[in-house]
């Protein structure tokens, strides 16, 4: 090759290579989020909140549509029946039949626990922040039982509204998240979401049981188990409205 061409070609190729590497990691994360949520979905699940001296379990139904809209409603136990959470874009509302009020979750409460679990309101409302507010790099890939698992390190952007120093995701080749670990800014592991049971459901391979727990309090965790799931179903826009949150029209 003519010497004069080498530099321009290198300049062209190098960024592409770098970008290609980065796109890969971001793509893997995006695919995983899309896979878990689908374009639209309906899920029936149980949530078990475990503490050293008590445990409680709830059954919930959840609908999601696109990236922004979701509705979660408690079915069991009876005393919590009708409690619901609606998210649209970055906003979040809750409804409790006991007080018969729709409450918009203010920013001051976004960091607080969602329905008493180990998930924060933010975890629920802003799940797809992971895609565009972080820089993703592939740390490595390994093969477990014949399935390739990528280990991806996600570092939040400087001005991202994320407190974590980094998050490390283990994502299988078939887009199932095996593990999602949250590290503080000293690199100390703080909490971890682990998929305990991965299997076929609703035509996809998904994590059937996931457990979120703090590392320094091993006796406290929240487990979400999927009972039933359907993907790519028709959902009316009216589902994701405040009036529907208040008065369910199932």
């Amino acid at each position: 090759m003519n010497k004069r061409f080498v530099l321009p070609v290198l300049l062209l190729v190098l960024p592409c290579m770098a970008a290609g590497e980065e796109r890969d990691a971001t793509d893997i994360v995006r695919d995983a989020v899309d896979h878990w949520r689908g374009l639209s979905s309906y899920t029936e699940m149980t949530m078990v909140i475990h503490r050293p001296d008590w445990e409680r379990s709830m059954t919930m139904r959840a609908w999601t549509k696109g990236q922004d809209q979701s509705l979660v409603r408690v079915v069991e136990p009876k005393k919590d029946r009708g409690n619901g959470t609606l998210t649209d874009d970055d906003s979040m509302w809750t409804f409790s039949p006991k007080v018969n009020r729709v409450i918009k979750i203010p920013s001051s409460m976004m960091g607080q626990s969602w329905m008493g679990s180990d998930f924060s309101n933010k975890d629920v409302a802003r799940a797809d922040d992971i895609i565009d507010q972080y820089d993703h790099t592939i740390l490595g890939r390994e093969s477990i039982d014949g399935i390739v698992v990528y280990e991806i390190e996600s570092v939040p952007h400087e001005d991202a509204a994320v407190v974590w120093g980094k998050e490390v995701l283990k994502i299988r080749d078939d887009h199932v998240v095996v593990e999602h670990a949250f590290y503080d800014q000293d690199g100390e592991l703080v909490k971890k979401l682990v998929s305990l049971d991965i299997g076929e459901m609703g035509g996809r391979t998904i994590a059937k049981r996931q457990r979120m727990g703090k590392i320094d309090k091993p006796e406290e965790w929240t487990e979400i188990g999927v009972i039933e799931v359907e993907y790519e179903i028709e959902l009316k826009d009216s589902l994701f409205t405040l009036s529907n949150l208040r008065n369910p029209r199932d």
Binding site: S91, A160, V162
Partner: protein, 410 residues
């Protein structure tokens, strides 16, 4: 009046005839005056500090807000005038210092904790004059300009959040549409404050960074002005009132912080009452001493009257006696007070009761403040009330019938 030197000499000699009684009375007066001045200086010091800390933590002696802001401090109730227009409006005036800032409630979160705080989006250059923070004493660095991307928080807050300089925190607040406005910030500095509540409750970010985060263009929530002294802000107040849009709310610091404002007024009243109460206790001793002195000398007074001294001179002599007594006491008392307050100017460490003082918003070092006006007030009160108290024994002495008085067996 011609008699005055003679009477004074007579009075002075009488005083020292029974020197033990006089010394006891003088020391009682001295201690009384000393305690008036000393205790006043202590409480002045305490209250002044609370007020000054409070005023500097507000900060700004004269403040401009949207009328609704003080009831509901959110960005919805911000000042509708942009910074560009403000600079134009105030460029021709000569305020000692002024600044516009964003001040809204927010939540700060680290990996482990979250806390409610007051977010202050400031232009550090314009606010240097306000002096609520010494920029150089900040661990790390203070904000450099209004576009600074860092955040400066108090050390106590950092401890609570388990974070430190160099780490990131998330600040959450609400934008004018009540949508969540949040952003990550790297901590660039930690500040210390005398008042723990200030250290825990305030976080500083660049003004323009705050405006971007809250989506409010170049508007702010308050404009603050500095007067020469927090006790003397009327000229600044009038100037601000004249140069700003009438729909905005211009307030003195004493109106923004009514608690502090009324504290100042209450303190002035308290000092007066305190002094009068101490004097009332003293006056019993004084009257008693004078009555004794008169009783003791009934025959003498009778003799002087018989020799032709006018009753008014007797009256004058007793009053002069009491005044001399008080004056000696006052001089010693004042000297004593100055002598005890002066070495304590560096502050009295009261960290033993720091927790209780914190609740009042006071720091754990107490600096006594000796006001000349308080000192004068104490002296005037003692002399004036002492004069009134000595009238009755003096009157009685001047009314003696000479014959009866001379023949009185006593």
């Amino acid at each position: 009046m011609r008699m005055l030197p003679v009477l004074t000499r007579l009075a002075w000699r009488y005083l020292w005839r029974n020197h033990r009684r006089t010394i006891i009375m003088v020391s009682a007066i001295s201690v009384g005056v000393w305690s008036m001045i000393f205790m006043t200086a202590l409480s002045r010091g305490m209250v002044d500090q609370v007020i000054e800390d409070g005023v500097s933590a507000l900060p700004g002696h004269v403040q401009v807000h949207n009328p609704k802001f003080l009831d509901d401090p959110s960005v919805v109730n911000r000042i509708p005038i942009g910074d560009a227009e403000l600079s134009r409006a105030f460029s021709s005036t000569d305020f000692k210092a002024w600044a516009s800032r964003v001040r809204v409630p927010a939540v700060i979160a680290s990996e482990y904790e979250s806390r409610g705080v007051t977010l202050l989006g400031i232009d550090p250059v314009a606010e240097r004059e306000f002096g609520y923070l010494s920029y150089d004493d900040v661990e790390g660095r203070f904000l450099e300009d209004a576009d600074d991307n860092g955040i400066v928080i108090g050390r106590k807050l950092a401890d609570k959040l388990e974070t430190r300089v160099g780490k990131r925190v998330v600040l959450m607040s609400q934008d004018p549409d009540n949508e969540i406005a949040d952003r990550g910030f790297r901590i660039v500095g930690l500040f210390d404050a005398e008042v723990p509540a200030f250290e825990e409750g305030n976080v500083f970010i660049g003004k323009r960074t705050a405006q971007k985060m809250l989506h409010i263009g170049d508007t702010t929530t308050e404009i603050v002005f500095l007067g020469d002294n927090y006790r003397d802000i009327e000229p600044t107040y009038d100037k601000v009132l004249a140069s700003i849009d009438g729909s905005l709310d211009v307030s003195r610091w004493s109106e923004v912080a009514t608690y502090l404002g009324s504290m100042l007024t209450v303190m002035d009243g308290f000092v007066l009452i305190f002094m009068v109460v101490i004097f009332l206790a003293l006056s019993f001793g004084l009257v008693n001493t004078l009555v004794m002195a008169v009783f003791e000398r009934v025959r003498e007074i009778g003799l002087m009257l018989a020799l032709g001294m006018k009753p008014s001179n007797i009256l004058g002599q007793i009053i002069i006696e009491s005044m001399l007594l008080l004056l000696v006491g006052l001089v010693i008392g004042n000297l004593l007070a100055v002598a005890t307050i002066h070495p304590l100017r560096g502050g009295i460490d009261i960290s033993v009761v720091a927790e209780g003082m914190e609740m009042m918003g006071a720091a754990s070092v107490l600096y006594p403040r000796l006001y000349v006006s308080d000192m004068i007030l104490a002296n005037v009160i003692v002399l004036f009330l002492g004069f009134l108290a000595s009238l009755s024994p003096a009157w009685r002495a001047s009314r003696y019938e000479p014959v009866e008085a001379i023949t009185k067996v006593g």
